[in-house]
């Protein structure tokens, strides 16, 4: 078991190192010069060259990469070319906001998806089941920017229940619209996975055995059926949560949510290399750790995996 964990951690670190290298090469190979955005529409050529030297943008690529790795190993992710703020400081604040949004979205998606999927599975063929399948298809298909603007139109403009955008002073009411927007497509997937996974489990002989032993229907579904149906659902929740932690630029843009997604995209547009490297590295780290955590949950849920490892 210890060997398994050490192996996983080693691969995790190697993955992260590889990601920094590939990202660095990709961003440097893009056309566009970070200095152009810093100088405005009119600047003397000597000023342009001087700023380029001070950013280190005139050095060979490998030297620049080596310099960046040195920074990372000291826990520093560099300084934004544009704002001169430490990328790590910015990311700390934005990661928290992104985590709030991602957590709220996944909570909404998980509760809604598992509840509805369970109801649909146990009432298979009913009107509820059919409507649920239609609605979930819609949730999967609708583009998030359209969904966000439509929810804003309905709940902030036509029926003014919720603020259209912003973060307020951290009140939960500001989280409702962006979390719902983000969570709806995940909920739609979770509904379908829950339904199909639960349907498969409900046909197993041990479910019939449990009922014949006198257990109540609720106990059979919640304790026996759902637990065994959870594996693929947990995987999906983990994957979606991981991707949300990397930021959801469309949702953040529409609702003015100060998250990692917008930060990263603005960094890419401006060729703000430290911001791009910092956000990619942080996002990759989250993703990799979330998947590691999901692997640990697998070990707990499924004894067969424990024995195999």
């Amino acid at each position: 078991m210890a060997a398994y964990l050490l192996r996983k951690i080693f691969m995790l670190l190697l993955t992260l190192l590889g990601i920094t290298f590939v990202t660095f090469l990709l961003i440097k190979s893009l056309p566009g010069d970070p200095v152009q955005g810093l100088i405005g529409e009119r600047a003397e050529q000597a000023t342009v060259e001087r700023i380029r030297r001070e950013l280190g943008a005139d050095q060979p690529l490998l030297l620049q990469y080596r310099g960046y790795l040195k920074l990372i190993f000291t826990g520093d992710l560099g300084t934004s070319y544009y704002t001169n703020r430490k990328v790590l400081d910015d990311l700390k604040a934005k990661c928290l906001h992104t985590f709030e949004l991602a957590f709220a979205a996944m909570l909404f998606a998980s509760l809604t998806g598992i509840l509805l999927g369970t109801l649909m599975a146990v009432t298979r063929g009913s009107i509820l089941d059919r409507i649920g399948l239609l609605v979930s298809a819609g949730g999967i298909s609708l583009p998030v920017f359209w969904l966000g603007l439509t929810l804003m139109l309905i709940f902030s403009f036509l029926i003014p229940l919720l603020p259209p955008s912003g973060m307020g002073e951290g009140e939960l009411i500001y989280l409702i619209l962006p979390a719902s927007t983000l969570g709806i497509s995940s909920a739609a997937y979770i509904v379908r996975i829950t339904r199909s996974s639960l349907l498969e489990v409900l046909t197993q002989p041990y479910i019939t055995t449990a009922r014949s032993k006198g257990l109540t229907k609720t106990k059979v579904i919640l304790k026996h059926a759902l637990k065994n149906a959870l594996l693929p659902i947990i995987t999906l929740i983990g994957l979606d949560f991981g991707s949300y932690l990397n930021g959801s630029v469309l949702t953040e843009t529409i609702f003015g949510w100060d998250g990692v997604g917008r930060y990263a995209v603005e960094g890419i547009m401006r060729r703000d290399y430290p911001v791009v490297m910092g956000t990619v590295l942080t996002g990759a780290a989250f993703f990799v750790f979330i998947n590691f955590f999901v692997d640990l949950i697998y070990l707990y849920l499924d004894p067969r995996i424990r024995v195999r490892e």
Binding site: P31, I39, E41, R85, T253, D258
Partner: protein, 552 residues
């Protein structure tokens, strides 16, 4: 599965209960969000579509930062209501007859928001800071004509000899040659006064902890979310009539429209897609204000590369496109047709310069004379922007009729600018916006051969006579003679046609009915925010001096 049928009944009941509860709650709560519920009373709410990058005057290059900085800082002079130069912190201004020596006497009692009184030495520090290589200011051109500036920038001297402190409140600036626009340069955000002790304490973080003399003081900046300024009670000039200003960062245009319609914003610059809705809406059409902003939209032609190294080809391009029709239809008339590079308001009371009309026959005959009877192929570069693409697709059709086969190349902004500054593009769509309200701003950076590439002359245009005239105009202090020179330069540029001149766009804003005193200016960074006030909606009192009555 039969044994779940009773379960189904319970579920049906549960479903109905939930549905009815939600429906009742929705109806009950409908309208429970009042208009502008989330606002602080007495504060003005405005929108930014992007987070300002910095509030350090030495580093400001974007419009958002300039607009905010104008409310936090002051300079020696500023632009007045009609874009004329008026004193700001300087009480008196004297210019020597040869136009090289500028003497200023400062108003006594002007203080930074940290309480310290402003002195002439603060301006010397602020201006030298721009030229100091350690500051990395991209706007060194504002002070590069000051005597001793070049020596200071290259490290040969420890100070700029041409910036002289003559007393506690007296400052003198000496230029290395006459330059008629220097006072306008001193009105730019780059020339705002900053306190040395604050800059040295905060170092790079001064960008986010600005301390100035302005009518507002920065209270809080939540990056990418909002920026809050409160009125400076010790401001030396007309004080603000609002308690403060809150800028909200709202990147998406439609979100901003919803926020405005919900009363959460007091003023909105109308996005293009919503223009028709607002100007026809009975609630809003009477509250729309129009401003002529100083800009020119154009198709730049790379004069270094064939076929645009031939003036006849460039003139043919100008004749090929019905710009007036595009302006009236696609842009719904939101602009003024450009006959040349300079907005007409900057060349007042003069003979109208005729521009190019739509004349495809003339275009074809010019191409024939230039040796292109069958036309040619070009690539038009643009930054990835939907409105620009729509305009260029129409232009593409017009050019096709004249035998010019154009391919549109969309590039993301950073890569687009790099291509332009390196001279890769045959032809490109761009706009030029004024930093200061003088025709020179549309002539020197954009057409003088010393400014190729990043300097502003992205058409790589060169004409010795035009260079000479521009330099002469810059040295000419007498405004009448300078205007004549500008008109002559513009006529020559129109003839040479390094651009296809399209239009000067107008800006439209809509305000809430309770917002009064709004003025629109042609330049960013001019509005100090001291004239606007919020009318009390309950008492309907319009006393702008009594701020307590203006709270909502």
């Amino acid at each position: 599965m039969r044994y779940f049928s009773r379960y189904n009944l319970r579920l049906n009941g549960l479903r109905w209960f939930l549905f009815i509860t939600i429906a009742i709650s929705s109806v009950f709560c409908a309208g429970c969000q009042e208009k502008g519920k989330h606002k602080l009373p007495g504060f003005l709410y405005l929108r930014l579509n992007t987070n300002p990058t910095t509030l350090d005057p030495a580093l400001i290059v974007d419009v958002a930062s300039a607009n905010i900085a104008a409310k936090l800082f002051n300079g020696l002079v500023r632009f007045g209501e009609r874009m004329e130069i008026v004193p700001d912190i300087a009480r008196t201004i004297e210019v020597s007859p040869d136009g090289t020596r500028y003497s200023f006497e400062l108003r006594p009692g002007v203080r930074f928001s940290n309480g310290r009184e402003v002195a002439a030495a603060d301006f010397k520090y602020s201006f030298e800071r721009i030229l100091n290589p350690g500051t990395k200011s991209p706007r060194t051109w504002v002070f590069s004509r000051v005597e001793g500036a070049q020596e200071y920038m290259t490290g040969k001297t420890k100070g700029v000899s041409g910036i002289r402190v003559k007393g506690q409140n007296k400052l003198e600036i000496v230029l290395d040659r006459p330059f008629a626009l220097f006072l306008q340069f001193l009105a730019l955000p780059t020339a705002y006064c900053v306190p040395k002790e604050e800059v040295e304490q905060w170092k790079k973080d001064f960008s986010f902890h600005p301390v100035g003399t302005g009518p507002f003081i920065l209270e809080e900046w939540k990056h990418n979310v909002s920026l809050k300024m409160t009125a400076n009670p010790n401001y030396f000039d007309n004080r603000a009539k609002v308690l403060g200003i809150i800028y909200r960062v709202i990147p998406e245009d439609l979100t901003a429209v919803y926020e405005f319609s919900s009363g959460n914003l007091d003023l909105l610059s109308i996005p293009q897609a919503e223009f028709r809705r607002f100007i026809t809406h009975p609630q809003w059409k009477g509250l729309i204000k129009e401003a002529v902003t100083l800009n020119t939209y154009y198709l730049g032609l790379n004069c270094r590369k064939p076929p645009f190294d031939n003036p006849k080809v460039r003139q043919a391009m100008n004749y090929s496109v019905d710009r007036e029709k595009i302006l009236k239809t696609l842009l719904e008339g939101r602009g003024e047709l450009a006959s040349g590079p300079v907005p007409p308001v900057l060349l007042p009371a003069g003979e109208t310069v005729p521009g190019y009309g739509y004349n495809p026959d003339r275009a074809r005959s010019l191409l024939k004379e230039a040796g292109y009877p069958d036309g040619f192929e070009i690539k038009i570069y643009q930054s990835s922007d939907q409105e620009t693409l729509e305009v260029l697709e129409v232009i593409q059709q017009y050019l096709e009729k004249a035998g010019i086969r154009a391919q549109i190349i969309q590039r993301e902004w950073s890569s687009f600018k790099e291509a332009l500054n390196k001279g890769e593009a045959d032809c490109f769509w761009l706009s030029w916006w004024a930093d200061y309200p003088d025709a020179e701003n549309f002539l020197f950076p954009t057409f003088h051969s010393g400014n190729w590439g990043a300097g502003g002359n992205r058409a790589y245009f060169k004409d010795g006579e035009i260079d000479r005239l521009i330099e002469e105009a810059q040295r000419t202090i007498a405004s009448g003679k300078r205007l004549s020179l500008y008109r002559e330069i513009e006529r020559k540029i129109i003839t040479q046609a390094p651009w296809v001149f399209f239009w000067h766009k107008k800006e439209y804003v809509v305000t809430q009915p309770w917002l009064k005193g709004v003025r629109l200016y042609s330049l960013p960074g001019v509005d100090k925010g001291t004239q606007v006030y919020i009318e009390n909606r309950i008492k309907n009192v319009k006393n702008p001096e009594d701020r307590s009555q203006n709270s909502e």
